[in-house]
């Protein structure tokens, strides 16, 4: 264990400001330091300025004002000196997809000036380290996300850097590869290398030695994650044993004085209060017990941003109650299978979703979530199996089935050049609304979401939170029975995410049925039931609490959703190996 003062300061940021065009600066007077021998997390939602900050450290970009000093050199004066001594892995790993693993390594070895006589040993070490030895002849484009990421890391490590910059290495990678990568990087810090790891996942932030928390270009916090969570110490509670509907209770709690934040966590509710003398308020009236819970980084972030939104959803209040005519599930998947050539993207996926249920498809990118999802909303024809929405067969009554569902695509695929009003009009028309009813619905959602001030602006210029609201508004305009949400909150800040789930929770209470895909483990806890999708197959199905309980061991008495996911994947792989 080294003493903190032994750690060399590798990067010094002083009043760094960077603007792109007019408007809000991408980085606004950011100051801080990055030390050697540590993992420093640059943490924040999309658009917070993480990538810009990393690029400024590489010397590929210069600040408008302020200075960035890396390894004792000013980026403005000697970028070349910096670039010989750092390793940098940009967001898409910077690999040449049409070169093989070995060719990529050779290229970067030449570019970084790795001496010929050291090569064999270095390659051997890195290939062992990344477990890529078996794949040296494979084209980089043919590797899985996790393998690409490891190769990217190997290329950045060829000439042992003093500072390693990783831009969102955890994106698009399954949780197992993510943990492996983290372990590799931890090993590097023992040799004194400083590692910068940018991320939008707040659970990754907790594992860092130090954190720079950015939001909309401003530095909100700099220091150890424990110092951050300390601000909500003693104010976080888990309310369990609820009698009554958990989402209704959450909505009521959120509107109470002194409640800062609350989310569904399996069958319980996680609450952050304004002061530590609150537990009696929490348990009063719901037959529930509030017990203190260890604070998380996300709790502190929400607290720092002034707390989450209230529990009221005017969108849901305007929604009429949908009642079941029979007990038939609203969404049914029976043996859905999709093959592309000899690749099976989705293999025999089966589940039923009851009215008023939130069902999650959880899995890493490329696991087959979106394929399943697209088959269920009639965008993709299954190779075999059948899907039904509100009783309509998706193959025969595609149009009727589609009229019963609202679809919110990943990354809010709205028409960027249309204004909010034009988008609303367009989607209302697409969903078959017209005349008086169309005018009423458009006026209603505009009023609920407060679109008035931005009505004329092109939607591509809107802030991320507003884009998300607009996407939701477009999807629910025709009051569908089922809502399909594809990665609805990836990359957005926690406040926006809470506002979004407040609406979803309230809509569900009115009888809307929700199918959501996510690779975000925390979000899976908001669902009633989830299906874990891995390599095209559903490897487990159950409520979040059931899935977590199924992997409890002596070493892991209180597993997180991610722990459960990893354990279940390992169990399923062991199962496939044993099978003849």
């Amino acid at each position: 264990m080294t003493h903190p003062s032994d750690k060399a300061e590798l990067v010094r940021l002083s009043g760094v400001t960077k603007r792109f065009g007019g408007g809000v600066p991408a980085l606004d007077a950011v100051s801080g330091a990055i030390l050697g021998g540590e993992i420093t997390g640059i943490v924040g939602p999309d658009g917070a300025g993480k990538t810009t900050l990393i690029r400024l450290m590489t010397g590929l970009m210069l600040p408008d004002s302020g200075t960035v000093d890396v390894l004792g050199f000013a980026t403005a004066k000697s970028p070349a000196a910096i670039q010989t001594a750092i390793g940098y892995m940009p967001q898409r790993f910077g690999l040449y997809e049409d070169l093989s693993v070995q060719e990529n390594l050779n290229l970067y070895a030449d570019l970084r000036g790795l001496p010929k006589d050291e090569r064999a040993a270095t390659f051997d070490e890195l290939l062992t380290f990344t477990d890529l030895k078996r794949f040296t002849d494979r084209l980089a484009g043919k590797l899985s996300g996790g393998m690409k990421q490891k190769l990217g890391l190997a290329c950045a490590l060829l000439k042992k850097p003093r500072l390693l910059l990783l831009d969102e290495p955890g994106v698009g990678v399954d949780p197992i590869s993510r943990r492996e990568l983290w372990k590799m990087v931890e090993n590097l810090t023992r040799e004194g290398i400083g590692v910068v790891w940018s991320t939008a996942y707040l659970d990754e932030a907790e594992a860092c030695d130090a954190v720079l928390l950015l939001n909309q270009g401003k530095l909100l916090f700099s220091g150890k994650p424990a110092e951050m969570t300390a601000r909500v110490e003693g104010r976080v509670f888990k309310v369990s044993g609820l009698s009554g509907r958990k989402r209704q209770i959450l909505a009521k709690l959120l509107d109470k004085e002194g409640i800062i934040d609350g989310v569904i966590q399996g069958e319980a509710i996680r609450v952050v209060t304004g002061n530590d003398a609150m537990p009696q308020v929490l348990s009063a009236g719901y037959g529930a017990a509030a017990s203190p819970a260890p604070p998380r980084f996300e709790d502190a972030f929400v607290d720092m941003l002034g707390g989450g939104p209230g529990g009221r959803s005017r969108l849901a209040e305007a929604q009429q109650i949908l009642t079941a005519k029979d007990n038939r599930p609203v969404i049914e998947a029976k043996g859905l299978t999709k093959t592309f050539g000899d690749f099976t993207a989705a293999d025999d996926i089966t589940f039923d979703i009851r009215r008023g249920e939130i069902f999650g498809l959880l899995g890493p990118n490329g696991a087959g979530k979106s394929t399943t999802f697209k088959m269920l909303c009639g965008l993709l024809k299954p190779t075999s199996g059948e899907g039904r929405v509100a009783g309509f067969d998706l193959r025969r009554d595609t149009a009727s089935a589609r009229n019963q569902l609202g679809y919110m695509a990943q990354k809010f695929s709205l028409y960027g050049d249309l204004s909010i009003g034009q988008n609303l009009d367009f989607f209302a028309g697409v969903y078959g609304l017209s005349g008086q009813r169309k005018r009423e619905r458009v006026a209603l959602v505009s009023e609920i979401f407060d679109f008035g001030r931005h009505a004329g602006q092109s939607s591509k210029d809107l802030p991320l939170g507003l884009k998300q609201r607009l996407a939701l508004a477009c999807a629910v305009m025709h009051e569908p029975q089922a809502l399909f949400l594809d990665e609805p909150t990836s990359g957005v800040d926690p406040i926006t995410r809470r506002e979004f789930w407040t609406h979803i929770n309230a809509l569900v209470e009115k009888g809307v049925t929700v199918l959501v895909t996510t690779h975000f483990m925390e979000e899976a806890e908001y669902c009633d039931r989830i299906s874990l999708i891995y390599r095209g197959r559903s490897i487990a199905l159950g409520s979040p609490d059931e899935l977590k309980a199924s992997v409890v061991t002596k070493d892991q008495p209180d597993p997180t959703m991610e722990d459960a996911f990893i354990a279940l994947v390992e169990r399923s792989e062991a199962g496939t190996k044993e099978a003849p």
């Binding site: 590489t58 898409r92 790993f93 910077g94 049409d98 070169l99 070895a109 030449d110 000036g113 001496p115």
Partner: protein
Amino acid sequence: MSASPTSARIRRFAALVRKESYQAVRDPSTTLIAFVLPLILLFLFGYGVSLDVTRTRVGLVMEETTPLTQALAASFQASRYFSVTTNQDRRVFEEDLVNGRIRGILIIPASFTTDYAAGRQPQIQVIVDGSEPNTANFVQNYAQGTVANWERQRQTLSAEEPSGITVEQRFWFNPELASRYFLVPGSIAIVMTLVGTLLTSLVVAREWERGTMEAMMATPVTATELLIGKIFPYFVLGLAAMTLCVLFAVFLFGVPFRGSILALYALSATFLIPALGQGLLISAATKNQFLASQLALISAFLPAFLLSGFLFEINSMPTVIQWITYVVPARYLIPSLQTVFLAGDIWPMFLHSMAVMLLIGAVFFVLAARSTRKRIG
């Protein structure tokens, strides 16, 4: 540093060239643009497009029938440039002309014989379709030529005193006036524009799109190494595509090759400098494959096609357009290449062309290097 700076530099450069060559070989679109597209173009200009006019269909109106006018009509019918239909009434042909069934109407007026006998200059009227100016011009010129020819023969036959001067045309270098002979060398310039500008701008823009450019820049590579390493393989590829075209031109289309191979390669290599420079500049400025390809087509391919003297003579363009042609590198290459093929080595002309192309290339490179300094955004 274990290695000396120079050897490290050479190694980096070699690594970039090797990488680029692997990619070029593995990417089917490179083969398509560098070898398939050029051959298609070459075949198009070699066989499909011809600017020669043979057997143009015209209508001949004879408003009077005398031995004199019949003799003239016979002379039109005998011409290898026309396929003639005869009638007494011009209205018959008017509709044909409108519909494009014929390309022109030649009218021998009722006063022809009287005028001729009176020693006045006999006149015939030519009506052409102005919407196809090229063809219209040919019809007009050939009609005049045929009349002149007929008149000359007639004078010789009647043994009257020979009229003053006769013009005898002789075409040097391309005696058959086969357009293929000058279109094929010209299309080689187009092909090199495709490889040099379009392909280069695409591959560099692709690196920006895929984020590999950013990863490259964060290594010790200098901007110059990056640029030169990027274009060197395409320089070689451009010359290879050119060689392929020349082989086809000479051995398949029978275009004569009267100059030296040295001149051919010197000219082509020089031309590739502005072409590649322009490609680099476009990709550095757009960083987007779609925009880059559009810009490359509009700013390089079309000018090389239209403003280089390849299809349209520069001398007959409006003055302002003529000024623009001075910055089109293909304008300097095409006449020189045509000379290499059809006439032989004329070094003073080549050196002048090469100097101008180098100058344009230098401007592109300075601009490209400025916008590709090791900075993003």
